[in-house]
């Protein structure tokens, strides 16, 4: 029973904290993830912009050295002369300085005059088309951008370039199927600058860098945009240049640590970016890891979507951030739950320990103790409970004491009664003899005064014995009550009037304060009067001249029999009072403090019997030196209906 309260309390705490925790974990996790994701996505979007800037800058950078070369001393005349070897030297210097993969000069007719590669001065014949140079010729302005270069072109420029461009398609899950096994073409950044001589177009100088297997752009992106941030041994940021859907330049690594050139993008992204020409930002599985990615199409100089630029951030970092945050949250929740358990335990202790003590105290009371240990009184309801409990026990104690007292009193009365009956019967016969013979002797005229006085003493003593025996008999007699409806006030008044003379003589005042609207009581008037008389006589005996006796009546509720209506008669005197130690013995038969011959000590015990037989009680309050109050309480017979004592 104790434990169930504790476990209930703890369980409810746990459930609440668990629910709150679970909900906040779920919502928090979700929100956190979204926040992290959108943060990461934003970042990637920005990174993609940076990457594009780097890409475009690289394109722009191509034009400049080409233009400068055209301005070089003797270049124009060499071109006019179609001095291929001279131009080839210049081209090689240019390529070296501008880090070009290929460069060449095309005549205004569109044939390649010379190039920087090994076959620097091509023979006459069919040449592979040169898209960038052709476009510049056509437009007659400097042109730059992304171009797709055919294998023939590349191998004509430099067979090594063609080799570099050749990329084997690696099987990639989720990629759109492609028929070919190899990509032979290359994607390049290229620029072409037309060369004029006084308005006449002489030709075009072109140059560029092959993107296939190139590392510069992607690594620049990684190193500048992502600042070589490393997470768990891998760089956070990755960049890739796609040719169509093929990774041709990347720093995304395969699981064995190689650059993932040859792998392809997923079909979804391909359709979205290459197909529809839109940007893509989302979480995506790239080669072997989840990345937060951004893709955008790359258009070539003709405005065709030929490839894609990609940047991606390793999701693991953000996922781990989320996991970290979530684990902190979990930790908080667990701590909360532990706290709940602890708090529940402590609270239970705090709340329940007085209750447990009360339970224990209850056991103690049921085992008969009237002074159970309740412990310190707590505040609040429990304290009220404790106080109530204490009051209850105290009331029980009082009632029990009263009951025990009554029981003891009636037992005493019964045993003394039996004894008295026997004694009285045995004593009264010889007493008859003593009385008769002494009185007969007293009648004689021939006795002297001394004998007469002796006989008188015998008579007096015998009278005393007779009185004692009579008192004993009165006390023991369980006489039936001869009850009739009685006005209490009238009965009390008449009893007082019997005593008024005696009190007047002694110099003690007796006053009567009758209560109003007293119900009629059914009483044995004779017995009741003798009881009242005895108590008033006692009061008078105890009170010195000048003192007073006040008798009052009133309606009252019983002190011991809660809620029962009754009538109280209080006889208060200003007499000597009764010492504490005598209070217990007051109603014992033969207890008297009066001089021998003055009191038999039966008055109060007889009175007690009378009141008890009427169903009432007698209470005594007394203070030595100040006086005593005897209070008689009598129940109102509610069955018989109450007769209001009007006009009392």
């Amino acid at each position: 029973m104790f434990y169930s309260t504790r476990s209930k309390l703890i369980a409810s705490f746990l459930v609440v904290s668990f629910l709150v925790g679970a909900v906040s974990l779920f919502i928090g996790g979700q929100l956190l993830y979204k926040a992290v994701l959108s943060e990461a996505t934003n970042r990637v979007r920005l990174d993609l912009n940076s990457a594009r800037e780097i890409y475009l800058t690289r394109i722009k950078q191509l034009k400049c050295p080409l233009s400068i070369t055209t301005l070089g001393f003797g270049f124009l005349s060499a071109l006019k002369r179609h001095d291929a070897p001279e131009l080839a030297i210049r081209l090689r210097r240019l390529a070296q300085q501008a880090e070009l993969d290929f460069a060449g000069i095309v005549t205004k007719e569109g044939t390649t005059l010379c190039r920087m590669g090994p076959d620097s001065i091509p023979k006459e014949g069919i040449q592979a088309p040169n898209p960038i140079a052709n476009l510049a010729l056509k437009r007659r302005v400097a042109t730059s951008g992304t171009v797709v270069l055919s294998e023939e072109f590349l191998s004509a420029e430099d067979p090594e370039l063609a080799d570099r461009a050749r990329i084997q398609l690696l099987p990639t899950p989720r990629a759109a199927p492609r028929a070919e096994k190899e990509e032979l073409s290359g994607m390049a950044l290229a620029a072409a600058v037309p060369v004029f001589d006084k308005g006449d177009l002489l030709g075009v100088i072109y140059g560029g860098i092959l993107l296939n297997r190139s590392q510069t752009i992607v690594d620049t992106v990684r190193d500048t945009v992502f600042q070589q941030e490393i997470y768990k041994g891998r760089s956070i940021g990755t960049a890739t240049i796609f040719f169509k859907d093929l990774r041709i330049s990347t720093n995304v690594l395969t699981p064995d640590g190689k650059r993932a050139i040859g792998t392809r993008v997923s079909k979804e992204v391909r359709e979205h970016v290459l197909g529809k020409g839109k940007k893509w930002t989302d979480r995506a599985f790239v080669v072997s890891d989840w990345y937060i990615t951004a893709y955008e199409p790359i258009e070539d100089i003709f405005g065709e979507r030929v490839g894609m630029l990609y940047v991606g951030v390793l999701e693991a970092k953000y996922a781990d951030m989320r996991t970290k945050a979530l684990s902190v949250l979990v930790l908080i929740i667990v701590a909360g739950m532990l706290l709940a358990v602890g708090l529940g335990y402590i609270l239970e202790k705090k709340i329940m320990s007085p209750v447990h003590r009360l339970i224990k105290a209850g056991h103690q009371v049921s085992e008969g103790s009237l002074t159970p240990e309740i412990g310190p009184i707590s505040k609040g309801e429990i304290g009220v409970l404790q106080n109530t409990f204490q009051d209850m026990v105290a009331a029980m104690g009082r009632r029990r004491a009263a009951a025990e007292n009554r029981l003891l009193q009636s037992e005493k009365q019964a045993s003394v009664g039996r004894l008295a009956a026997g004694v009285a019967h045995e004593i009264n016969n010889p007493l008859t003899g003593v009385l008769t013979y002494t009185h007969m002797l007293l009648r004689r005229k021939d006795i002297g005064d001394d004998i007469r006085s002796d006989l008188q003493t015998i008579v007096e003593s015998t009278e005393r014995v007779r009185k004692i025996v009579k008192g004993l008999l009165d006390f023991s007699r369980q006489t039936k009550l001869d009850q009739e409806p009685t006005e209490v006030n009238r009965l009390v008044r008449s009893t007082i009037s019997v005593m008024e003379n005696q009190a007047l003589v002694k110099g003690v005042s007796i006053e009567f304060n009758p209560g109003e609207n007293l119900p009629m009581l059914t009483l044995d008037r004779n017995q009741f009067q003798s009881m009242l008389l005895n108590i008033i006589i006692n009061a008078l005996d105890a009170t010195e001249p000048g003192g007073s006796i006040r008798v009052s009546t009133g309606v009252s509720l019983s002190a011991s029999n809660a809620g029962k209506k009754g009538v109280e008669i209080a006889i208060a005197d200003t007499g000597c009072g009764i010492p504490q130690e005598d209070l217990d013995k007051l109603f014992d038969p033969f207890f008297s403090t009066k001089e021998v011959g003055q009191g038999t000590g039966l008055g109060l015990s007889v009175s007690f019997g009378i009141v008890q037989r009427h169903g009432g009680t007698i209470r005594v309050q007394s203070e030595v030196g100040r006086g005593s109050t005897f209070t008689i309480w009598l129940p109102v017979d509610e069955r018989g209906g109450e007769h209001e004592n009007i006009g009392s």
Binding site: E426, P430, L435, T436
Partner: protein, 130 residues
């Protein structure tokens, strides 16, 4: 007048005898109910003084018997232990009076005189109608 005193205690009998004879009554003493009935067959008594508590047959028994045969003889009941019950019973048995032991000679004589007087009044009231 002849008075029969019935009591199992010698001292009570003697006391009654002393008091009543001094006052001029003729007193007969018996210690039990049976003896009393025997005596009553022989003598005519004007009054009976009977103790209630006696061994064998008690005063109540005696009263019943007497009332059957001699309903006119007044009976005074004595008791050393007068309870309301015994008094009530005595009254029911039409006892003429009740006296609690112990008593003084004067108390006894007063009661006897009262009873006799009542008896005389009763008779004088009844005689004209006879």
């Amino acid at each position: 007048m002849k008075i029969l005193v019935v009591d199992d205690e010698r001292i009570v009998l003697d006391s009654c005898q002393k008091v009543l004879e001094a006052d001029g009554f003729e007193v007969y003493l018996v210690p039990s109910a049976n003896k009393a009935l025997q005596a009553m067959k022989k003598e005519g008594f004007g009054l009976l003084l009977v103790d209630i508590k006696m061994p064998e047959h008690d005063g109540m028994y005696l009263m019943r018997e007497v009332k059957k045969k001699w309903p006119d003889i007044p009976i005074i009941v004595m008791s050393g232990y007068p309870t309301t019950n015994t008094i009530e019973e005595a009254v029911k048995m039409q006892a003429a009076a009740f006296i609690a032991k112990p008593f003084t000679p004067d108390e006894l004589l007063e009661i006897i005189r009262k009873v006799i007087q009542k008896e005389e009044n009763h008779e004088s009231k009844q005689s004209p109608s006879d």
